[in-house]
């Protein structure tokens, strides 16, 4: 099969997935979720006002028309206005995603580099004390909850030692930098533990493949085998793992954003949930699902390109 045909086929596969996701979102918010009008109108809501508001929000339309509205907004990326803040949702997402990325992107890059390096060291010295020590550290890092890191960071590093601001955020480069250093450190600590373990396992899997034995039989040095053969093959699942994380970077980290007062997409989602602001929740869910589907397709395509062993059929 031609690669172009494969790409087209992969994109076509994404369409029913997208319909399925949007239908699920529709069921969740338009059918299962309760009537949001009373929350929006406040304690003095009357039945008449609630009916008026339901009509105004289009909640009294036939179900298929409501579903069509969701589909339309998903394809046009016009999600309308937030019920709570009356802002244009696309603008909210854009500004929130930008802020989230200022935190998530450096954290992702740094943590990926650190994880890769440490996992390689650990795999290279497999079974030795250095490997055991690194695995132990990873398990400890993974076992401690995010909240503990946040509270410790804010109390000790920010309040006691005054190394960082306790919380806050300033828009624009470079003013946001002091505010993201501590959250970044916590993000890195939180993600490296599991990443190191995962990458180490992948590398170790490769270590016991036939081609490694062949290379050893040919008399190649361990360093040569590790760097030239094992890493090259291990990179495919590692890259896949990295790419699949990218769509979630725009969402930020809900807990970190909330504690550090970072006005990113994570905190927008939390506010939307608290305010029963369904259009915002729907928009972010659709957007995340779409980006995820796209990146999933990209990963599959990259797989085919990077690894000729994978059959296009």
């Amino acid at each position: 099969m031609n690669i172009i045909v494969y790409i087209i086929k992969r994109i076509l596969y994404a369409i029913p997935v997208f319909f399925g996701v949007s239908f699920l979102i529709f069921i969740m918010f338009n059918i299962v979720a309760g009537d949001p009008t009373i929350m929006l109108l406040g304690k003095y809501a009357t039945a008449k006002q609630m009916a008026d508001l339901r009509h105004y929000l289009g909640l009294d339309k036939a179900w298929y028309l409501q579903y069509f509205d969701i589909l339309k907004s998903a394809f046009t990326f016009n999600f309308g206005h937030s019920w709570a803040t009356k802002q244009l949702i696309s603008e909210m997402i854009k500004s929130g995603a930008k802020v989230s990325l200022t935190l998530s992107l450096p954290s992702f890059i740094i943590s990926s580099i650190i994880s890769l390096i440490i996992s390689m060291i650990s795999a290279f010295y497999r079974g030795k004390w250095i490997d055991k020590f690194l695995v132990l550290i990873c398990v400890i890092m993974m076992s401690i909850s995010a909240l503990s890191y946040i509270l410790f960071g804010q109390w000790i590093l920010a309040y006691k030692f005054g190394l960082f601001p306790i919380e806050g955020y300033e828009y624009g480069f470079p003013f946001f930098i002091p505010y993201i250093i501590l959250p970044c450190i916590i993000w890195i600590i939180l993600s490296t533990g599991s990443d190191i373990r995962f990458y180490r396992t992948i590398i170790l899997d490769e270590l016991y493949q036939d081609y490694v034995r062949t290379a050893r039989a040919k008399g190649l040095s361990e360093t040569m085998i590790f760097c030239k053969h094992i890493l090259k093959n291990a990179m495919i699942p590692i890259i896949t793992n990295l790419i699949i994380q990218i769509p979630f970077l725009i969402l930020g980290f809900l807990l970190i954003e909330n504690f550090f007062g970072i006005p990113g997409l994570g905190s927008i989602i939390l506010d939307a949930i608290n305010n029963s602001d369904f259009p915002v929740i729907k928009a972010i869910t659709i957007l995340t699902a779409s980006v995820y589907i796209v990146f999933n397709a990209i990963t599959d395509i990259l797989y085919v390109i990077l690894d000729p062993r994978i059959n296009l059929k």
Partner: protein, 586 residues
């Protein structure tokens, strides 16, 4: 090479950090009040906003015709109005203060704020009633102003609201005079136009900002917010340069004179710049306060409260730092309502048994650190009609009596009684409170099932009557007991009003209807007291408590809070000498 590159990168990084700190310090102003909001502010559109914390911001930018005097309990005084108008044939002629200007804003010609005129009052009232804007406070005016409901009905048919259409009850006499006529006797006239929703806005702002109006407030108040972003983590205020010469009152109660001695007679607002930090996490808020980054923080009823306050006093650690606790009664009542549509709750002995089995003292200690007032009935303290001496026998904790009443009700040791469901809103603290209630009821043999709901779902359940018991808190909107007693008036049974329990009592209804016929305040208070006692005796709900307003303040600020004033930021002062002293010793 790599080493050189790393070194260069390090230098670049350090330079950026230094630049930022230098930039920040360059822009630091000496007199900035740093406050904290516990919640994000959704909108600054007064007719769309429903949360009290947002009204503090709205009423710092906008103003009302009348306002509550912050230093005289529940007393109303003129604000934009020149005086308090006298009623004549159910009408009031309001004369506006001259020379009041809106803040400078690009919505006005040449960006200069124009003078407030009587047509602004008419527009603001109509805007509240505009069906195309789906305002949330029309209840305040519903059926009260002559012709307003008709106007609202007419606009519903139109695509665009016609604010020029005549309304019988809103007559502009001249630029500074407007006559408002009511359908009948309206004794809440002053309260309506002193309420935080009744702020005056210029039409130009709505026309110019359209959908973005809620983020671009343009008022006559002491402060202005240049650009508000609901997603931002702070709101920055600066003094409205067009604000008229208003002064801190010189005539204030003796007991407050010492606290405000430096503020008396000074021009308002007392502090020109304010930053309101939005910090939703309690622990973060406390750290910022301890670090002296913010001047005051509200204490919520969670673990932090318990770690800071012991026996109603601040822990010595904080007191040594000069920090003081501001503790005042709020005007609310928490209650667990029965559903009277459910036959089992028509049994008064059962209701009384449940009320007697609930340990309010322990509840107050466990969940409020003793910083709330145990309720005896519905009317909260500081509202006329509340009797300090009144002790409701059914609000005592008496398990034996409760068991006896339960037996008399036909359910000895709870036998024959179905499992009772208590609907609560989701959240750890609500669940813990519900578990406490469940344990209290288990003592007398009543089985309680707790059902948690997202808040919107809880309200929907209450609205539809799809519950057995519900846990709710009612915050008064104006200082009149009627506002809370309406919750038990039979003609207000939901969906016609807010009688969520569906309680009916002829005597209570009769007294409730009498309220509006009596103009003498003293006689009305007697009626309120009687109604409050009826509720206490008939137990249509389990009255829990009335919460307090607790604020931790830095030693250098003179903090003030009252339940119905939302414009109090302008009265808060900073003593720079004390601030410097404490910051040096930090």
């Amino acid at each position: 090479m790599l080493k050189k590159l790393s070194f260069l990168l390090l230098i670049a990084f350090l330079s950026i950090i230094t630049t930022i700190y230098l930039h920040k310090n360059k822009h630091k102003k000496p007199a900035t009040l740093n406050l904290v909001s516990l919640h994000k502010i959704k909108t600054l559109d007064p007719i769309l906003c429903i949360d009290t914390h947002s009204f503090i911001h709205i009423n710092s930018v906008y103003e009302t015709l009348f306002k509550y005097d912050p230093f005289q309990k529940n007393e109303i005084k003129p604000c934009l109005s020149k005086n308090l108008p006298i009623k004549e044939n159910n009408s009031y002629v309001i004369k506006l203060k001259k020379g009041v200007k809106f803040q400078n804003d690009e919505c006005f010609s040449e960006g200069k704020g124009r003078e407030l005129k009587s047509h602004d009052i008419k527009f603001s009232i109509l805007r509240n009633a505009d069906p195309n804007l789906n305002g949330k406070h029309f209840w305040l005016l519903d059926g009260k102003i002559k012709g307003l409901n008709r106007w609202r009905k007419n606009q519903r048919k139109k695509n665009q609201t016609d604010y020029n259409e005549e309304v019988e009850g809103l007559k502009i006499i001249d630029d500074y005079t407007i006559k408002i006529s009511f359908e009948g006797d309206n004794r809440q006239f002053y309260q309506i136009f002193a309420s935080p929703f009744s702020v005056i806005i210029p039409k130009e702002a709505q026309d110019y900002y359209k959908k973005d109006f809620g983020n671009s407030p343009v008022g006559t108040g002491p402060y202005e917010i240049k650009k508000f972003d609901p997603q931002s983590n702070k709101i920055v205020y600066s003094k409205n340069s067009n604000y008229r010469d208003e002064r801190f009152p010189t005539e204030i109660p003796e007991n407050l004179k010492l606290k405000f001695k430096n503020s008396l007679g000074k021009t308002l607002p007392l502090v020109d710049n304010i930053i309101v930090h939005i910090v939703t996490e309690t622990s973060t808020r406390l750290l910022k306060f301890k670090n002296r980054e913010v001047d005051a923080i509200n204490i919520t009823n969670d673990n932090i409260n318990f770690s800071l306050i012991k026996d109603g006093k601040l822990i010595s650690d904080l007191e040594k730092k000069g920090i003081y606790l501001y503790n005042k009664n709020e005007v609310n009542t928490s209650y667990i309502g029965f559903n009277f549509n459910n036959k089992i709750f028509n049994n008064i002995k059962l209701r009384r048994a449940i009320s007697l089995a609930f340990d309010r003292k322990k509840y107050n200690k466990l969940f409020y650190n003793d910083n709330s007032t145990t309720a005896q009935s519905m009317i909260p303290p500081s509202i006329e009609g509340y009797e300090k001496k009144y002790i409701n026998p059914y609000c005592a904790y008496d398990v034996e009596r409760a068991k006896q009443l339960l037996e008399e009700a036909g359910y000895p040791q709870g036998k024959g009684l179905p499992k009772i469901t208590l609907d609560i809103r989701s959240g750890t603290i609500y669940r813990q409170k519900a578990i406490f209630f469940k344990e209290c009821m288990r003592e007398i043999g009543i089985e309680i099932k707790i059902r948690t709901n997202p808040f919107s779902e809880l309200l929907n359940r209450i609205f539809k009557g799809n519950f057995m018991l519900f846990d709710l808190n009612w915050q008064l909107d104006f200082p009149d007991a009627e506002n809370i007693l309406q919750l038990f008036y039979s003609k207000h049974i939901t969906p016609n009003g807010f009688n969520f329990t569906r309680f009916k009592n002829e005597k209570f209804d009769e007294l409730y209807e009498k309220i509006n016929l009596i103009s003498d305040q003293e006689r009305r208070i007697i009626l309120y007291e009687e109604m409050n006692r009826i509720l206490g005796d008939l137990v249509p709900a389990i009255f829990l408590n009335h919460k307090n307003h607790l604020v931790l303040c830095q030693p250098w600020i003179s903090y003030i809070w009252t339940p119905f004033n939302f414009d109090l930021i302008q009265y808060i002062d900073i003593d720079d000498t004390i601030k410097q002293k404490f910051q040096i010793s930090k």
